[in-house]
């Protein structure tokens, strides 16, 4: 059984923008998938659909065999708890510190204070932000915010990790650190989907690459690269 399946997905936004057209996609457990494509290709839209933040105009999405387009409202939060997400725009709580932002994701799922005290410093260490634990988001640089977002996404050991452009604001070195963290999490059994424009990273990692263009899948290969020509 596939972990994630997009079946005939079409997404048309209110203004008539067709962000995704007839997408069919299967991702298995413990895969590591790059989602690439030019600006506006529909990568973030894919992420939003899987997270049930947007509803598809047509088609069905199955997560772990369950059709999430038919999910009742009360079950949506529990669906989301299986998925860690690094948002392109970070989405940090502006009036909580870095530590509290990460701890919040654990409180929501009912973790004990003991678990929180153990887990949060660990993930902050993984993304290299131990010394920024008490800073508020407005006191962080762009790359630091991005790493807080990553720490929050992985703190609950989700079965799926979706990262939307997680290295866009990072220098190559820090970016590679983050990639190591993602790879490590993947090795521990988490399925990772990463939307990115970082050609170096995609080409070096040698993982499955799904390329979108104007809302359609134009390429889907194991051990792919960012782009052939250009």
């Amino acid at each position: 059984m596939d972990l994630i399946e997009l079946h005939n997905i079409t997404k048309t936004y209110l203004k008539g923008v067709q962000a995704l057209t007839n997408i069919n996609l299967k991702i298995e457990k413990e895969e590591f998938v790059f989602l690439v494509g030019p600006s506006g290709a529909g990568k973030s839209t894919c992420v939003k659909l899987i997270l049930k933040e947007e509803e598809p105009t047509m088609g069905n999405i199955f997560i772990n065999g369950q059709n999430i387009t038919k999910l009742s409202k009360r079950k949506v939060p529990y669906h989301r708890r299986n998925i860690g997400v690094v948002f392109q725009d970070f989405r940090l709580l502006p009036n909580k510190t870095v530590y509290e932002n990460v701890a919040f994701a654990m409180r929501v799922v009912g973790a004990t204070p003991k678990e929180i005290r153990r887990q949060v410093p660990m993930v902050l260490g993984m993304v290299g932000l131990s010394d920024k634990a008490d800073s508020y988001p407005y006191q962080l640089s762009g790359g630091e915010k991005q790493r807080v977002s990553i720490a929050r996404a992985i703190v609950n050991n989700p079965s799926i990790l979706i990262a939307d452009e997680p290295t866009g604001n990072l220098d190559p070195e820090t970016a590679w650190e983050i990639m190591k963290v993602l790879k490590q999490i993947n090795r521990r059994g988490t399925t990772v989907i990463m939307a990115t424009h970082a050609r170096n990273i995609v080409d070096t990692m040698q993982q499955r690459v799904i390329a979108l263009e104007k809302g359609r899948i134009i390429r889907d290969e194991q051990r792919g690269v960012y782009q052939y020509e250009g």
């Binding site: 997270l51 009360r74 939060p77 529990y78 669906h79 997400v85 989405r91 009036n95 929050r152």
Partner: protein, 298 residues
């Protein structure tokens, strides 16, 4: 809910109150202002109502003038007949001499004019106290056929007028209070809407990381209730000391002339404190719920 979650939610409610100090103050200020005005109107209505009751009690009697040439036996007889009427609670005999004395007294300074009367033309009379003012008409009806009665005097018009005024004041007061409660709910629900609006992003993020609706709702609900409660406490204090001050000022200024007609500070507060607490918390909670429903549906 787990105890841990409850503690978290309580903490968040308080933290929310503090983090949005400006907004919290605005909300509390609004609740306080509304409740103080409500208190003002309650004070007025209760006092006018009370005053009307008191005045009404003094006119709450029927006077039956007896014919001039009755014997004592006949007078007693009429008295017994009156006592037998349904709804009559007390019957007092007033002789013509007593009546004159009463007039002299009630006319005060001008009373001396009556000294010069060559003959006391006032009649003997019975003064009838009623169980209930509403029975007045039926009692008068039963009095009319009795023999020995010259005239039945009932301050019908005055009593009716008074009843009408009291009812009018009560109705107007009730309407104003209702409007004010609606205004309060409106203002508070709007304030919480604003709070929510300012935290829309926050709510969105909470949902993103998998928070259930109630986990998001509770802190806001608590915040609203706390806002209302604090407003209620402040306004209770203001109304208490304000009324006490006014009570004392009026008493001192008018030499106790009014104080007998005013509801005592404690009676007043016994009535208002519950109204305020219920309204404050209830309106805060209601406001939160209305606003939350709008923003958590998305």
């Amino acid at each position: 809910m787990k105890a841990r979650t409850v503690r978290y939610v309580l903490g968040q409610g308080l933290v929310g109150l503090w983090r949005n100090r400006t907004m919290s103050m605005a909300s509390i200020g609004t609740v306080t202002a509304t409740l103080i005005i409500l208190g003002l109107i309650i004070t007025l209505v209760l006092n006018i109502s009370n005053l009307a009751d008191l005045v009404q009690m003094q006119f709450d009697e029927i006077q039956v003038y007896l014919e001039d040439d009755l014997s004592i036996e006949e007078i007693n007889n009429v008295g017994k007949q009156i006592e037998a009427i349904n709804g009559v609670s007390e019957v007092i005999y007033e002789s013509k001499e007593e009546a004159l004395e009463k007039y002299k007294k009630s006319w005060g300074e001008e009373g001396y004019l009556l000294e010069g009367l060559e003959k006391n033309t006032l009649p003997n009379s019975y003064i009838i106290q009623m169980d209930n003012l509403e029975l007045a008409d039926s009692i008068v009806e039963k009095l009319t056929p009795l023999k020995g009665i010259d005239e039945i005097k009932y301050y019908k018009e005055i009593v009716d007028q008074l009843l009408r005024i009291a009812r009018f004041v009560r109705t107007i007061g009730l309407i104003i209070i209702l409007i004010l409660i609606l205004v309060a709910i409106f203002i508070i629900s709007n304030t919480i809407k604003l709070t929510l609006n300012a935290r829309r992003q926050e709510i969105g993020i909470m949902k993103n990381v998998g928070a259930t609706n109630w986990f998001i709702r509770w802190p806001f609900l608590l915040e609203g209730m706390l806002l209302g409660l604090i407003g209620a406490i402040i306004s209770t204090a203001v109304v208490y000391y304000g009324y006490q001050y006014a009570f004392n000022a009026i008493t001192a200024r008018f030499y106790l002339m009014f104080s007998a007609y005013m509801i005592s500070v404690n009676d007043m507060m016994n009535k208002t404190i519950y109204i305020f607490a219920v309204l404050g918390i209830g309106v805060g909670a209601l406001g939160s719920i209305f606003s939350l429903r709008r923003y958590l549906k998305v």
